[in-house]
C-alpha cells in the first residue's frame, strides 16, 4: 500500500489534493481545510504582555488553528506572527511528557508520586540541614495568576523560604521598583488607549515594532501624534518615528534630566499639580543643576537643539505618553531612569489623564500577574513586607498567625544565583524559565547550579539547556492546556482557557503545586478545598479587595463576556471592557501622604566602558519571530524559517577596520567568554563602535559574554551594554 502511494506520488498521479483543499468554514471563512475546527476556545496569547485575545480551533483533540479574537478589546482580531503560529508550540517537538529523575548521571522516567515525594523529601532534608532559606525558587512570568498566587503561598508559607523570585527580575523589576519609589505602588498607570489619544508619544528603549507589534496598531490609529523614539539602534520602531533620537548607549537618564531642567527653567510644568500632589520638588530641582543642555548633549551625542526640541514637544503637549521597555530596564541605572521618567510625567501632570502616562510596556504574558499576586518581591495585592498593617490583614484573610507572614523579602534572582555560588542556597526549583540562555554571564550561573545539592526544573519543554542540568524534571502543561488569567501591560485581566490536554503525563503547574502542598502537609491549610484555578481566583479576589489591584468585581464569567477587564475593578464596577481605566486620576497616590515622590536621580556611565582590548559596545535584544530563549518558538518551523539563527550587526566603519565582509562568521569576545561563529551583518542600523546580537539563540548565546552587573535597587541585570571585541572566526570547524 505504501509502495503504491509512493509510486502514485512520484509519478504525479497523487498530488495530495485532499490535504491541500479549501473549503468554507463558518468561523474562518474560505481557508485550507486543514485549519477547520470543530470547536473554538477563547483564550489569551501566551507570549508577550500586550495580551491579545485569541481563539483556538480544536479538531479531534488537536489545536489546528488560531485566530485573533475580533471582539477582544486589546487586539480586535489582530495577532503578531508568533501569535498566528502559536498553536504549533503545543505539538512541537521537545515537549516534556514525563517526570524524570537523575539516576547514575542519567535522567530516567519516574511516576508522579515518586516525583512529588522526592521533591518534598529532598527540599525538606536540605532545609533541615542548612536552614529554611537554603531553598530557592526561581519562577517566571508565564504562569497564570492563579498559579502564581498558589506558588507564592506554597513557597513562603509552606516551605517557609523567602528566597523566591521570578525571571521577571531579568525584565520588569526595574519598572516595579521605579513605580514603587515614585507612586508608592507598582502598577502601570495608563491604558493602551493613551497611544491613540496622546499628541506626543516618547518611546525610550522600546522597540515595539519588533516586540509588541500589535501596539503599533494603536499608533497607526493616531494620525495626529508626534512620535519620538530614543534608541541607540535604528530599530524598526525608530523608522516609525517623527523625531528619532539616536542616543548613545545608556545616556537616556541624562536626556530626561536635561528635559526636566528645561521644563522647570522655562516654567513649562504644572506648578499647581506639583504643589498639591507631589513632594520633593526642591530636591529634584537642585539635583538637576548639572544637566544643562550642553552637558546632556555631550553625554547623549544629540545636538542641543534636538534635546530642546524634544523637551518643548513634551512640555507643550496636551497629553504626553512615555513608553519604555528593556532599553531602560536592563541597566544598573534602570530604576533611577524610571524615576526620572515618572518625574517628567508628574511635573507636567502627564499622568492619570487620557493619553498621558508614564507607561512600562511589560514583557511576558503574565509578568503583571506575578507582580500582583506572586508573593515574591512583595506581599500579594501590592502589600508591603515592611507594613505590619498589611501583614496583619493578610494573616486575617488567610486565617494564619501573623508571625507566619515574612517581614522582609528574600533574595532577588541574581542574589539567589550568587547564594548558590557561595553555597548558601543548596536546593533550587526553577519553574517555566530557561536561565542557561536568559541569565547574564552564564558561566557564573553554571557554577551556581553546579554547586546545588538538588535542582528541580519544571517546564513545558525538555530537553532545554536548563532541564539538561536538572536532577529532576517536572513536565508541565503550557498555554492552550490550562485555565486561569493573565494581566497585560495596561492592567487588563483576560481569561486563559484549556483547549486540549497536556501531552503524556504533563500536569498543570497548578496541580503540581497542590500536590506538593498536599505532600508537604500544608494543603488543607493553604489551599482549603481547592481543586481548580477558579478556587485560587476566588480567594485572590477576596485578598485583592480594596487594594490598588482590586479584582473583586472580576469574575470568570465577566471575563468571558468582556474579553478582558482592567483593574482596579471593585465589586459593582462597570464590566464594560471599552471603558479605559487609569490609575491616579484623582492625583492621590499609594504613599502614606497620598502624594507622589519626585525622586532625584543622577546619570552615570555604564559600568563596563569600552577600552583597547574590548573596544566595542555590545547591545542585545530581540526579533519579532522569536520568544525569549526559543523553547517555544524554536520548534515552530515557520518562525524558524523566517529567523533561522543569530546574527551580529556591525557598522561598516568597524567592519572596514577589522577587514570583515558581509555574512562572514565572527566571534564576539568579552572578558567573560566568547560567542563563536555568528553571521555578520554589516549595516547602518547600528552606530560605529556598537554591535547588536539577539539573545534568543543558545547556539550563539549572547549571555556567554554579558556581565554580572545589576541595578542596586531592582537587581535587574545590565544586559544592554558591555565591552567586547570581534574577531573573524577561525576556519577550523569546531
Amino acid at each position: 500500500m505504501n509502495l503504491l502511494r509512493w509510486l502514485a506520488q512520484k509519478s504525479g498521479l497523487d498530488i495530495r489534493s485532499a490535504e491541500y483543499s479549501y473549503g468554507e468554514d463558518p468561523v474562518l471563512g474560505f481557508t485550507s481545510n486543514r485549519k477547520h475546527a470543530d470547536r473554538w476556545v477563547n483564550s489569551t496569547c501566551g507570549y508577550c504582555s500586550v495580551g491579545c485575545g485569541m481563539q483556538l480551533g480544536v479538531r479531534e483533540g488537536k489545536v489546528v488553528s488560531v485566530r485573533g479574537n475580533p471582539d477582544h478589546p486589546v487586539n480586535l482580531g489582530k495577532l503578531c506572527p508568533k501569535g498566528l503560529a502559536e498553536h504549533y508550540a503545543i505539538d512541537a517537538n521537545g515537549r516534556a511528557k514525563y517526570p524524570l529523575l537523575r539516576k547514575n548521571g542519567q535522567l530516567a522516567r519516574i511516576g508522579w508520586d515518586v516525583a512529588i515525594d522526592t521533591l518534598v523529601e529532598r527540599f525538606r532534608k536540605i532545609q533541615q540541614k542548612y536552614g529554611p532559606e537554603s531553598l530557592g525558587i526561581v519562577s517566571t512570568g508565564q504562569l497564570v495568576t492563579e498559579e502564581f498566587y498558589a506558588l507564592g503561598k506554597l513557597v513562603q508559607l509552606g516551605f517557609g523560604t523567602t528566597n523566591y523570585d521570578g525571571n521577571t527580575t531579568l525584565c520588569m523589576s526595574t519598572a516595579v521598583a521605579g513605580y514603587k519609589r515614585s507612586f508608592g505602588s507598582d502598577g502601570p498607570p495608563g491604558a493602551y488607549e493613551d497611544l491613540e489619544v496622546a499628541d506626543v508619544i516618547l518611546l525610550i528603549g522600546a522597540n515595539i515594532a519588533e516586540n509588541h507589534p500589535i501596539l503599533c496598531t494603536r499608533l497607526e490609529a493616531n494620525s495626529a501624534k508626534t512620535l519620538i523614539v530614543a534608541d541607540p539602534r535604528v530599530t524598526k520602531t525608530a523608522m516609525m518615528a517623527d523625531v528619532y533620537l539616536p542616543v548613545k548607549p545608556r545616556s537616556d537618564l541624562a536626556l530626561i534630566n536635561a528635559i526636566l531642567r528645561i521644563l522647570i527653567d522655562e516654567e513649562l510644568y504644572n506648578k499647581e499639580y506639583v504643589e498639591l500632589h507631589t513632594t520633593g520638588f526642591a530636591e529634584l530641582r537642585a539635583s538637576l543643576a548639572p544637566y544643562t543642555v550642553d552637558y546632556a548633549a555631550s553625554i547623549t551625542g544629540l545636538s542641543p537643539e534636538l534635546i530642546r526640541k524634544t523637551a518643548l514637544l513634551y512640555g507643550n503637549a496636551k497629553a504626553a505618553f512615555i513608553g519604555w521597555t528593556m532599553g531602560v530596564n536592563h541597566s544598573t541605572k534602570g530604576t533611577e531612569t524610571v524615576n526620572a521618567i515618572n518625574n517628567l510625567a508628574l511635573i507636567t501632570q502627564n499622568i492619570g489623564r487620557p493619553g498621558a502616562s508614564p507607561f512600562s510596556i511589560t514583557g511576558q504574558c503574565n509578568a503583571m500577574g506575578t507582580r500582583e499576586a506572586g508573593f515574591s518581591s512583595g506581599l500579594p495585592g501590592y502589600r508591603k513586607f515592611e507594613s505590619s498593617e498589611d501583614r496583619e490583614e493578610l494573616a486575617r484573610l488567610w486565617n494564619l498567625p501573623v508571625d507566619r507572614i515574612p517581614t522582609k523579602r528574600g533574595l532577588a534572582y541574581p542574589d539567589i544565583i550568587e547564594a548558590a555560588v557561595s553555597r548558601k542556597i543548596r536546593a533550587l526549583w526553577i519553574i517555566g524559565t530557561n536561565p542557561l540562555v536568559s541569565f547574564p554571564n552564564i558561566d557564573v550561573l553554571k557554577h551556581g547550579l553546579g554547586n546545588l545539592d538538588f535542582l528541580v526544573v519544571q517546564d513545558g519543554f525538555h530537553p532545554t539547556p536548563t532541564t539538561e542540568l536538572a536532577d529532576m524534571v517536572l513536565p508541565a502543561a503550557i498555554w492552550g492546556e490550562k485555565e486561569g488569567t493573565y494581566t497585560n501591560s495596561e492592567r487588563r485581566v483576560s481569561k486563559v482557557n484549556a483547549a486540549v490536554k497536556p501531552p503524556g503525563e504533563a500536569r498543570r503547574d497548578f496541580d503540581i503545586f497542590l500536590a506538593v502542598a498536599e505532600r508537604l502537609g500544608c494543603g488543607k491549610e493553604l489551599f482549603p478545598g481547592w481543586r481548580n484555578p477558579s478556587d485560587a481566583f476566588e480567594e485572590w479576589r477576596r485578598v485583592s479587595t480594596g487594594r490598588l489591584c482590586d479584582y473583586s468585581g472580576i469574575t470568570y464569567a465577566a471575563l468571558e463576556t468582556a474579553g478582558g477587564l482592567q483593574w482596579p475593578c471593585p465589586v459593582g464596577a462597570s464590566t464594560n471592557p471599552a471603558a479605559p481605566r487609569r490609575l491616579y486620576t484623582d492625583g492621590r497616590f499609594q504613599t502614606d501622604d497620598g502624594r507622589a515622590r519626585l525622586v532625584p536621580t543622577q546619570w552615570a556611565p555604564f559600568p563596563e566602558q569600552p577600552h583597547p582590548e574590548f573596544p566595542l559596545i555590545l547591545n542585545t535584544g530581540r526579533t519579532v519571530e522569536h520568544w525569549h530563549t526559543r523553547t517555544k518558538t524554536g520548534g515552530i518551523s515557520i518562525l524558524q524559517r523566517l529567523s533561522p539563527r543569530a546574527w551580529l550587526e556591525m557598522n561598516p566603519v568597524d567592519a572596514g577596520k577589522l577587514g570583515l565582509k558581509p555574512h562572514e562568521h565572527v566571534d564576539v569576545i568579552s572578558a567573560r567568554g566568547r560567542v563563536s561563529k555568528v553571521e555578520l551583518r554589516i549595516t547602518e542600523i547600528v552606530a560605529p563602535g556598537q554591535i547588536f546580537l539577539p539573545f534568543h539563540f543558545v547556539e550563539s548565546n549572547a549571555n556567554q559574554i554579558t556581565q554580572s552587573a545589576f541595578d542596586p535597587i531592582s537587581r535587574e541585570p545590565n544586559f544592554k551594554q558591555c565591552a567586547v571585541r570581534v574577531e573573524k572566526s577561525s576556519t577550523a570547524h569546531a
Partner: protein, 514 residues
Amino acid sequence: MELPLLDRALAGNEDAFCLTTAANPADGVVASLCGTGSDIALPPPPGPGEQYRFHFDMTKCIGCKCCVVACNEQNGNPADILWRRVGEIEGGIYPDTLRHYLSMGCNHCLEPTCMTGCPVDAYSKDGPTGIVRHSADICIGCQYCTWNCSYGVPQYNPERGVVGKCDMCYGRLTQGQHPACVSACPEGAIRIETVRIAEWREEYRIDANSPGMPSADDSLSTTRITIPGRLPHDLRKVDLNRLRPEHPHWPLVVMTVLTQLSVGAFTSIWLLEVFSAHAHRAAALIALLAAAVALSASTLHLGRPIHALRALKMWRRSWLSREVLLFTLFANAAAAYSAALWIHLPGTTFLGGLTVVFGICGVGASARLYLVPGRPAWKSPFTILEFYLTAVLLGSAGANILTGASPRTQAATIIAGLATLLVGGLKITWLARSEVHERRGAYSLLFTVLSNHLRLRFLLLSAGLLMLPFAQSRWTAVPIVLALIAGEFVSRYLFFVSVVPTNIATEYLSVEAA
C-alpha cells in the same frame, strides 16, 4: 473548486455577480483566520477594463511578517514555501539610516510571464478579477514558471510535485472576505483595490516599481506600491551580498548535454553519409540511445512525470512546449533514420536530413527557453551559442571516432573547441562587466565557490583539444571525446548553479547556514 464567476458576469447577471456582497455588516464581522479586516470594505467588483490588484504601503509596513504567517496558515503550506514574503531594504548613513520592508505575494501581472511560459496551460488570468490563477491539477511540475517570473512568485512544492502561488485568496474574495494577508496586517499596509487596465499600462512604471524589486517591465506588475517620499540613493536589498549556487537540476544537465550530443552526432553521421557515403549504423544507434536517455532524464525533472506528454500542449506560446515537440520529432526521425540505416532502406539521406533539421531546431528551442526574465545571466545570445557549440563540439569530436581522427574532423573539432573557449571567455567578461547585479553575481560565484568547477571545465576542454592532434585511430580518439563530453557536463552544471535569480529583496539571513 469551480467558481463560475466569469460565466455569471458574462451572462450579465448583476445579482449573481456578487464578489463583495457577502461582507454584510449585519452579519457582524467578516470571518477570517486572523483579524477581521472589518474596518475596511473590499472594493466593488472590477468592471469592464478593470481588475483587482494589491496595494502595498511601504510607509506603513513595520516588517512584522504577520502577512507571511497568515498566508501559510490560510493555504496550509509547509514552512519552506512562502507565497507571501517580506524583504528588507536599507540605505543611508547612521543615524540617518532608512530601513524599509517589502511585502509581496503575486503581482497578478497584465502580461504574466509565468502564464506565457507554461507548457501545459496551468495558468489563467481570471476574467472578472484579473487574478492570475494556477491549477495544480493541470500543472506537471516542470517549474518553468519559477524561472519565468522575475519576482520568484511561483514556488515548487516537492511534496505535491506541482507549483503553487498566491491567488489573492480568490476563494475568499468571491465570498466577500479579505485575503489572509490583508486581514492579518496590523498596520493596514496591504489592501485590495481596483485598477483600470488601460491606464495602468501607461502609468505602471511610476507605482509598480520599487527599490528592492525587479523591474515591472518584465510582466507589467499590477501591485501599486506606495514608497516613502525621501529615499536615499543607496537604498538596496539587504540580501545583496548573499550569493549561493542554485539547484543544479541534474535531469536538465543530462538532458541538454545529451540532446546536443545526439543532435551533433546525427549531424556528423548524416554529413559522413552524404559526403563520404559511409553508413555509421552503430554510431546512429549510440546517438539514438543518447537521445532516449536525454528524453527520459527530462521527465525526471517533472514533479509529475506521468503527465509529461501534456507538455506538448502549448507549442504555440511556450518555448518549453516547442522544445518538447521538436525533440520528440527529432527522436522519432532519428529512430526512423537509424532503423533505415540498419535494414538498408532507401531514403536514409532524407530521413537523416529531417533528423538534423528537427535536431537543430530542437537545440534552438531548448536554448531559447532559458532566455527568461528571472535569470539575467541566461538571458543573452551566449546561451544560444553555448548550446549550439556543445552540439558542434561533441558532434565533430564524435566524428573523429568514426573517421579515425581524420585531419578534417580534427580541424572541425579544434575550431569548435576554440570557439567554445572564446565564447566562454567572452561570456565571463560580459558577466563581470555587467551593470546587472544578478550577472555580476554569477561571475562572483564562478570565481569563488565554483572556481574549482570552472577550472575543471577548462582543463577538460583544453586537454581534449591538446590531445586531439595526437589521436591516430578511432580508439585513441575515444578518451579524448569522453574528456570533451565530461567538460560539457561540467560546463552545463555551472550554467545551472551559477545563475543568480532576480527576486524581491528577502531577509538578511538565508535559511541554510552559510
